[in-house]
């Protein structure tokens, strides 16, 4: 637990990678960059401006008129390259930590492939849509699967996700709702496992990561509750999907399981100081920020704060999350520019 985690010995194994990530972090787009980007009239202008940022000439060899999907792919490729470089140069325990970060993408990929197969789409069509960080070898054989038990036995059992799947096997067949239940159950188990792993690492990593993961758990609980209003999901089933590693456990989660509308959810959040602030001022009126936006902002704040401390693994996780947010921002702005619908172009979440 202590080896490689304290100040002087951290740099032996992880110094190069921490330095590298801090360098990458300095290249994250700032408020000025976003101000320039929203002034663009066409996607070509966007490309010219991005050339002066850390992204450089990443679109230089793209022929013809730019499309938002092309920009999306290239933005994500840069993050994937950087992450793979970090992963290739890491040793334990950092390599396990970085692997944990990829599991969430694996879960997304699996659910995407199953949903696609349900809707009779071919694997070759779905494979390019998978996130590259979450690719694993047996992924494309999902086409042959029809029940969760089969899914586990043939594909998942060899992957690191096997431990997360145990609760899902009894689900009988794969339809829309059940797939969502599978996704959320996988994610809940993954979060709790990740949280336990970080606590096991101890030191500053545990402090930083457990706070971030606790917020993630609570945020999922809130979102699941709000999204389940008006669906056939029973309260018991809903309660089983809440990750238990957050602040809301156990009383908040119990209260959320009983909630039936938005105001009751808000009442539960009022008991917790940080979440009370998020619900204030959030609403669906024009000019207000939505609750999701406020949750994103809080997540960005936590991730930015993790860089204030040194000698811990949290910066790797935070870097990936901040880059994801940046990609979401740039794609939002690109869509607004491409469709010439500029009213909501300022709805990005600024990071620095």
């Amino acid at each position: 637990m202590g080896s490689g985690m304290s100040g002087p010995t951290f740099n032996i194994d992880n110094g190069y990678l921490e330095g590298l990530v801090r360098g990458f972090k300095n290249g994250i787009l700032t408020k000025n960059d976003y101000l320039n980007l929203v002034q663009c009239e066409t996607l070509e202008d966007l490309k010219v401006h991005l050339q002066s940022t850390d992204y450089g000439t990443f679109l230089a060899n793209e022929p013809g008129p730019l499309a938002v999907s092309v920009i999306d792919d290239k933005l994500r490729n840069k993050l994937v390259l950087e992450f793979q470089h970090l992963r290739n140069h890491s040793v334990e325990p950092l390599s396990t930590f970085l692997d944990y970060i990829t599991y969430s993408y694996m879960i997304d990929n699996i659910v995407l492939l199953i949903t696609g197969t349900l809707h009779q789409r071919s694997i070759s069509e779905l494979a390019p849509k998978c996130h590259p960080l979450g690719k694993f070898e047996q992924m494309e054989a999902i086409g042959a699967i029809s029940t969760p038990a089969e899914l586990y036995n043939t594909i998942i059992v060899d992957t690191p996700l096997a431990a997360f799947f145990l609760d899902c096997i009894f689900v009988q067949d794969l339809d829309e709702m059940n797939i969502e239940i599978i996704r959320n159950t996988l994610y809940k188990n993954y979060l709790e496992d990740f949280h336990a792993f970080c606590s096991g690492l101890g030191g500053i990593t545990a402090d930083v990561m457990c706070e971030i993961l606790a917020f993630e758990a609570d945020r999922r609980a809130i979102i699941i509750t709000i999204n389940s209003f008006g669906t056939e999901l029973t309260k018991d089933d809903r309660a089983k999907l809440f990750p238990r590693c957050g602040r809301l456990h156990p009383e908040g989660l119990a209260a959320l399981a009983r909630a039936v509308d938005y105001d009751q959810v808000r009442a539960v959040a009022d008991y917790y100081a940080e979440y009370k602030v998020l619900f204030e001022g959030a609403g669906n009126n024009p000019g207000d920020k939505t609750l999701e936006d406020k949750l994103f902002e809080h997540e960005v704040k936590l991730n930015v704060n993790s860089f204030l401390q040194q000698f811990h693994f949290g910066i790797f996780y935070s870097y990936v999350k901040l880059k994801e947010q940046e990609v979401r921002n740039v794609i939002w702005i690109s869509e607004c520019v491409a469709q010439r619908h500029r009213t909501k172009i300022d709805n990005y979440i600024p990071i620095y």
Partner: protein, 589 residues
């Protein structure tokens, strides 16, 4: 001796400098080193819209004007000529694509004739764009054709391997012929019997087990995972045989070689068939229809061979066409790159100007070169064919002008070293002329080995003699560029090191005994009572200079070679060299 020689050298150094100063008053332009930075004038240029491009290109060729950015508050993509810059970017992209194809196909980078083309006019830019687009389209077409052909060839080759290998699988089954039992253990033997119908839907599924099969090719590294997946998904009810294809096959898209295996899967029933198919698709295994009877297979095999030969001919023709296209393009590609860069630079500079009504540019140029700048503007106006000349005004300004040092190829290295510590202010004394001698000399004082010094000198001499050849090569190796850029510095360092090496009497870390040592050991043995016995037993003997040293005749040049065999040579000489270096160095300050 040593110190007087050093003094003489320092006097030479200052004398050289005074000479160059006097020479500079005569014709400043020809001397390659400036004592202080040049006087600069701020000029304002009024250019007509038509002649602006030509004038700026002439200024560019001259290389004596620095333009200031008059549009600082404007975004990059809101400037006037941004569309033309984008067109240049697009042209560069096409050129890069063509270059990449050249390198891939002809396997060497395109040759550089060193030609420096003139800046093309805007009208020519349009022609260039058309040429590049045509070339790019042709290349893309040829590439896609080639890819299709290679894919077909790959499929046929794989089919050929399948037909050959499955022969062995079926043969094994034929060995135990005629057994049609329903028991599981003889699954391999009852696979195929001479009369049992395979895969067909006749009614007697009770009598003989009907086994369908799928044959295909899969990449070798996926085979273990594939086997495991098949076993799990079909609950062990399928049977897989696989062998390797010995020769690696070429992947049509990437051109890399991949090793593959032929596999054949036997199963019973329709459901298993769909499952197996889906798993094969998931592992990117290509499936091929394979006939069951040997005769059909042989026939197919021969047909496949002829088709492979046909495709090979067409493929070689396509490759030839591609090589022809690319070698044509490769001849002019460097020149095209230069032309496009020049166009882009001109439009970039035009973007810096104020373009409200006429084009107004502001910048700095050396006062002594105002004539040449005027001449360049006149040339530009003539080239563009307008009558109205460009007007160049000198402006009085409070801004600090930029520092401009003239250098030639010899002084360039020294000026670069001085600039690395900090660029001198406007009209401040330039330390570089002094460093021409002092820097190599101080190096030599610290280095002091005539053997290694002469090697340095010869190496630098070789670089200087072949400098034209090296400049034309345009190497990108950083270490080499650093050495080559400092060739004159290394030349002088080597030369002075030989001198100081002679003074230190140090050649490849050994002393040379040219004139005979002044410490006489014969006298020592007499006067200090040293016998052969003492010589053999004691490890060191301390020499008494009053006795041993031949007063009146010290070693003429350099340090006496006796020091080479003394035990305290290093202690003594290190201290001596360090003190000398420090005294000389501090005296500079």
């Amino acid at each position: 001796y040593c110190s007087t020689a050093v003094l003489i050298f320092r006097l030479l150094d200052f004398g050289l400098l005074r000479l160059t100063k006097r020479a500079m008053n005569i014709s400043e332009r020809d001397v390659g080193i400036s004592f202080r930075s040049e006087e600069m004038t701020r000029i304002q240029m009024f250019l007509q819209n038509d002649s602006a491009y030509a004038c700026v290109s002439e200024f560019g060729e001259l290389g004596l004007v620095q333009f200031s950015d008059l549009n600082e508050n404007v975004n990059e993509f809101q400037r006037k000529y941004i569309n033309e810059v984008r067109r240049c970017d697009e042209m560069e992209r096409k050129l890069r694509y063509i270059e990449k194809e050249c390198r891939k196909c002809i396997n060497q980078s395109p040759p550089d004739s060193g030609e420096n083309p003139e800046t093309p006019m805007p009208s020519e830019m349009f022609n260039l764009e058309l040429t590049f687009e045509k070339l790019e389209n042709e290349l893309k077409e040829v590439n896609s054709n080639k890819e299709t052909l290679m894919k077909n060839k790959l499929e046929l080759t794989e089919l050929k391997h399948i037909l050959r290998k499955t022969q062995t699988f079926f043969d094994e089954a034929q060995l135990t012929l005629g057994q049609t039992s329903r028991s599981e253990e003889s699954m391999s033997t009852s696979l195929l019997s001479a009369e049992a119908p395979i895969g067909s839907s006749s009614g007697d599924s009770q009598q003989s087990p009907k086994f369908g099969f799928i044959a295909g090719v899969i990449a070798r590294e996926r085979v273990p995972s594939f086997e495991r997946m098949l076993w799990r998904a079909c609950r062990g009810n399928v049977f897989l045989r696989q062998t390797e294809i010995e020769t690696p096959l070429e992947d049509p898209v990437t051109g890399e070689e991949v090793s593959k295996c032929v596999f054949i899967i036997f199963f019973q029933g329709e459901q298993l068939k769909t499952k197996v198919r889906k798993i094969c698709e998931g592992y990117k295994a290509t499936m091929y229809p394979c006939p069951e009877s040997q005769a059909e297979r042989r026939e197919m095999s021969m047909g496949v061979m002829t088709r492979i030969e046909d495709i090979q001919t067409v493929l070689s023709q396509t490759a030839e066409h591609q090589t022809r296209l690319l070698s044509n393009a490769a001849r002019s590609i460097r020149v095209w790159f230069r032309k496009v860069k020049k166009i882009k630079a001109v439009y970039h500079t035009l973007n810096l100007c104020n373009t409200q009504k006429a084009i107004i540019a502001e910048g700095w140029c050396p006062s002594s070169e105002l004539d040449r700048v005027n001449l360049a503007a006149r040339r530009g106006t003539e080239r563009s064919g307008t009558d109205i000349p460009a007007i160049i005004n000198t402006m009085a300004t409070r801004r600090t002008p930029p520092t401009y040092h003239r250098t030639n190829k010899f002084t360039n290295g020294f000026q670069a070293i001085v600039d690395a510590y900090g660029v001198a202010d406007y009209r401040e004394i330039n330390p570089a002329p002094f460093t021409l001698i002092t820097f190599p000399f101080l190096f030599a004082v610290m280095f002091g080995d005539c053997g290694h010094g002469s090697i340095m000198f010869l190496f630098a001499l070789w670089m200087v003699i072949n400098e034209k050849k090296f400049l034309a090569e345009k190497s990108t190796n950083e270490m080499w560029l650093m050495l080559f850029g400092g060739r004159y510095i290394i030349l002088l360092m080597g030369l002075f090191s030989v001198y100081t090496g002679l003074l230190y009497n140090d050649c490849f870390s050994k002393s040379l005994n040219i004139f005979g040592s002044s410490w006489s050991l014969a006298e020592t043995r007499e006067k200090m009572n040293v016998t052969m016995e003492t010589l053999r037993t004691t490890s060191t003997i301390q020499l008494n200079p009053a006795v041993t040293f031949q007063t009146g005749s010290p070693y003429p040049i350099g340090i006496d070679p006796i020091w080479n065999i003394s035990k305290n040579q290093i202690v003594f000489l290190n201290s001596y060299k360090m003190k000398l270096s420090i005294i000389l160095g501090v005296a500079q300050m």
